[in-house]
């Protein structure tokens, strides 16, 4: 008994081992290290700690400070506000594009599919630089066209720059999410569509009653990606930072943690911020999954 069991198990373990190893090494271990670091703080004597430096256990002191200082909380609220607008826009746009390309009457499907997907191939930094030029007064054609029409668009203003960032992100990822949804649309059985046509369903009815329910998993997936992406907003605001005074060093949770770790060199505090952000992302993602999952069961 025992020998057969072992024989059956061992190949599986070998297949799993590489994944488990890297998962432990590059996922579990760093998270554990961040958790550990977030529980300590440094005490120093002298102006530069030259008379003594000690690492002391702080309990949840760093977490308390994150909440007390408020800048991080504000950054979380900012990205949540951003997500409330950005997630629906992104998902609706991706779904509409996917359905358009899937429509029976669509022309030039291959061209448009590539064209919509193309921005995803542009690295985030490059995309942000590119849009940065389009946002900067004095060199942006958009701003000068606006000027000729009597408008004074301010893409980098205190109340607008967040939506300029949302625009970059939508431009970049709508095509990607569209592709995820298209893949699922391709899996909609042809006989189902044929049956609906025979039963007299028009295109709208087919979308509403057949396609949308069947691509629901893909939409859920894209939504979770977008929620997580919103919370982790980093590249776009960081690249726009030199162009505007309105992207601060605590603009998004990730930028705040980055600044605290690497510019302020306060790893313990940054670790607490990172752990909190991971918690929030987990709560929101699993919360959303539970929400849609629950409805399905109901």
């Amino acid at each position: 008994m025992a020998t057969t069991k072992r024989r059956r198990l061992s190949p599986g373990i070998w297949f799993l081992a590489p994944f488990c190893l890297f998962f432990l090494l590059f996922f579990v271990l760093p998270i554990g290290y961040a958790l550990y670091q977030s529980l300590f703080r440094t005490e120093r004597t002298g102006l530069y700690g030259e008379l003594g430096t000690h690492q002391v256990f702080a309990g949840f002191g760093n977490y308390a400070k994150v909440f007390a200082e408020g800048a991080f909380v504000q950054s979380v609220l900012r990205v949540l506000g951003y997500a409330v607008v950005q997630v629906p826009v992104m998902i609706v746009l991706a779904t509409v594009l996917a359905l358009l390309l899937d429509a029976a009457s669509a022309r030039g499907v291959r061209f448009f599919r590539s064209a919509f997907f193309l921005p995803y191939g542009v690295p985030g930094v490059i995309a942000s630089i590119l849009w940065g030029f389009l946002y900067t007064p004095g060199i942006s054609p958009l701003v000068s066209i606006g000027g000729h029409l009597g408008l004074t668009p301010d893409f980098l203003g205190p109340n607008t720059v967040l939506w300029s960032i949302a625009n970059i992100v939508t431009w970049q990822f709508a095509g990607y999410n569209m592709l995820v949804i298209i893949a699922q649309l391709k899996a909609v059985p042809g006989d189902l569509m044929e049956a609906s046509r025979i039963d007299g369903a028009n295109a709208w009815q087919a979308i509403w009653h057949i396609k949308l329910p069947l691509i629901r998993p893909a939409i859920v997936l894209a939504t979770v990606f977008t929620i997580i992406g919103s919370l982790q907003l980093f590249t776009e605001p960081l690249v726009l930072q030199p162009l505007t005074a309105n992207v601060t060093s605590t603009y998004t949770p990730n930028i705040a943690a980055y600044a605290d770790a690497f510019s302020n060199n306060n790893y313990n505090y940054a670790a607490a911020e990172a752990v909190l952000l991971a918690l929030i992302a987990a709560i929101l993602s699993f919360g959303f999954l539970r929400l849609v999952g629950g409805r399905r069961r109901g």
Binding site: G49, V56, G138, P242, L243, T244, A245, S249, S263
Partner: protein, 445 residues
């Protein structure tokens, strides 16, 4: 390379956190006055820097010193991530022998224990070669911790052609500068005398420095933060007024939109650092010949003062196995005239080498500035800098706080001095978060 493996062992056991490692940083340094190099042995020093054109100087050293070769690693500029890399390297014992570190960041590396105390290696005999105030930027607790390289004395770049066309006299005081700003607005509705960067706090720090502020001082073992002294307050109120009356433009400097406006004559002056000359020449080439340089406008003409923006040093890191050779290279790099001339060509800033103006290629007329020997002005400015300015171990966060609070004040029409007060409170918190003692301008809290 053996140094790496020796240190790797020490670093692994100390990987527990920043504090423990800070202690370790100084622990791995060999006893002062000793080097691991045997006579005649050929060694290689690692050097991290991002200064444009520094490779030429390094090459020259390597040609002249076959036994002590310097391997230059060009890293991204400190503020953009270079310091993050260096801090991490210090923590893990993998720091290079030498690194580029700006004056305002040196105290942060003091906190790490990353800087070698050069006093025991006889650095004292080179002191007379350097500009005294720049030298003092690297002295902490009477120990010399770095070799100064360059600074950024500030003066006023201005468009002489437009000033003449619009009948504007070159302002010598800040009130005159205000009048000049109004005249520019009247002469051309698209033009401003300058752009006030709401989130480039190194700029406002320089302005406060000129106004006689001492934001950061030490009282015994405790830091005292005072960013709302009378000088800073006067400076803030002045810019409040210019902003409210829309005599100047609130816009980030040194970015593409700003350069475009310089090109078009829509921004006609810049109270900027000496190293800004390369930025103007490189990004507003079309305006060549039309610029001149004058001393910064003054608060009190009877006590002329200039400001400083930026400054950098060549630091020997605490874990260097060849500290003597590293120090010798750092001193040569920043005092040898051939090397300094190469660095000036690269646009590295104002030399820390004393009396550099007359001894180097700085003393030359320049076509971009209409044939003016414009560095003469910076040489004069350099002599007017208040040399007692100190930086904090948390300067980087203070500058971040200022960026946020000043931008907030400019957006909402609030007072700049209140923005400074906010940053002052945050700075005290930052220092305490580092486990240091700090207080605001009032009584001890």
């Amino acid at each position: 390379m053996t140094r790496r493996s020796v240190l790797a062992g020490g670093a692994a056991t100390a990987l527990a956190g920043t504090g423990l490692l800070a202690g370790c940083g100084t622990g791995v340094a060999p006893p002062p006055g000793r080097s691991d190099r045997r006579p005649g042995e050929r060694v290689t020093l690692n050097f991290w820097s991002w200064v444009p054109g520094i490779a030429a100087s390094v090459d020259l050293w390597n040609k002249r010193n076959p036994d002590v070769q310097v391997h230059l690693d060009t890293i991204i500029p400190g503020g953009s991530g270079g310091y993050a890399k260096l801090h991490a390297a210090v923590h893990t014992g993998g720091a290079p022998d030498l690194a580029q570190i700006e004056y305002h960041i040196l105290p942060a590396f003091m906190l790490d224990g990353g800087l070698l105390d050069l006093t025991g290696y006889g650095i004292g005999k080179y002191e007379h070669l350097f500009v005294p105030w720049q030298w003092r930027q690297g002295v902490f607790d009477e120990r010399v911790r770095t070799v100064p390289q360059a600074s950024g004395p500030m003066a006023m770049f201005y468009r002489a052609d437009l000033f003449a066309k619009w009948g504007i006299e070159v302002p010598k005081t800040w009130p005159q500068y205000r009048d000049a700003a109004a005249k520019v607005r009247k002469a051309d509705p698209n033009a401003y005398i300058m752009a006030f960067p709401p989130a480039n706090s190194a700029y406002q720090t320089g302005l406060a420095w000129q106004a006689g502020a001492h934001w950061f001082t030490a009282r015994g073992q405790s830091w005292r933060i005072d960013m709302t002294d009378p000088g800073s307050t006067r400076m803030c109120d002045y810019w409040d007024e210019l902003l409210h009356e829309k005599l100047i433009l609130a816009e980030q400097d040194m970015q593409s939109g700003w350069f475009a406006q310089l090109q078009r004559g829509q921004i006609v002056s810049w109270v900027g650092p000496q190293w800004g000359d390369a930025l103007l020449m490189g990004n507003a080439a079309g305006t060549a010949g039309k610029w001149r340089v004058a001393l910064m406008p003054q608060w009190d003409s009877s006590h002329p003062a200039a400001a400083n923006w930026g400054g950098s040093s060549t630091a020997v890191m605490a874990n260097s196995q060849y500290p003597e050779e590293a120090m010798r290279f750092a001193v040569w790099l920043n005092t040898n005239l051939d090397s300094v001339n190469l660095l000036i060509k690269g646009g590295y800033g104002w030399p820390a080498l004393d009396n550099a103006y007359h001894r180097t290629i700085l003393d030359r007329p320049n076509k971009f500035f209409g044939g003016q020997r414009y560095n003469e002005i910076f040489a004069a400015a350099d002599k007017q800098i208040d040399d007692s300015w100190m930086w904090l171990p948390t300067t980087a966060s203070t500058l971040d706080h200022l960026n946020a609070s000043i931008a907030g004040a400019v957006n909402s029409g609030g007072r700049l001095v209140d923005a400074l007060r906010t940053a002052q409170r945050q700075t005290v918190d930052d220092l305490r978060a580092k486990g240091l003692k700090a207080s605001g301008p009032g009584k001890e809290r």
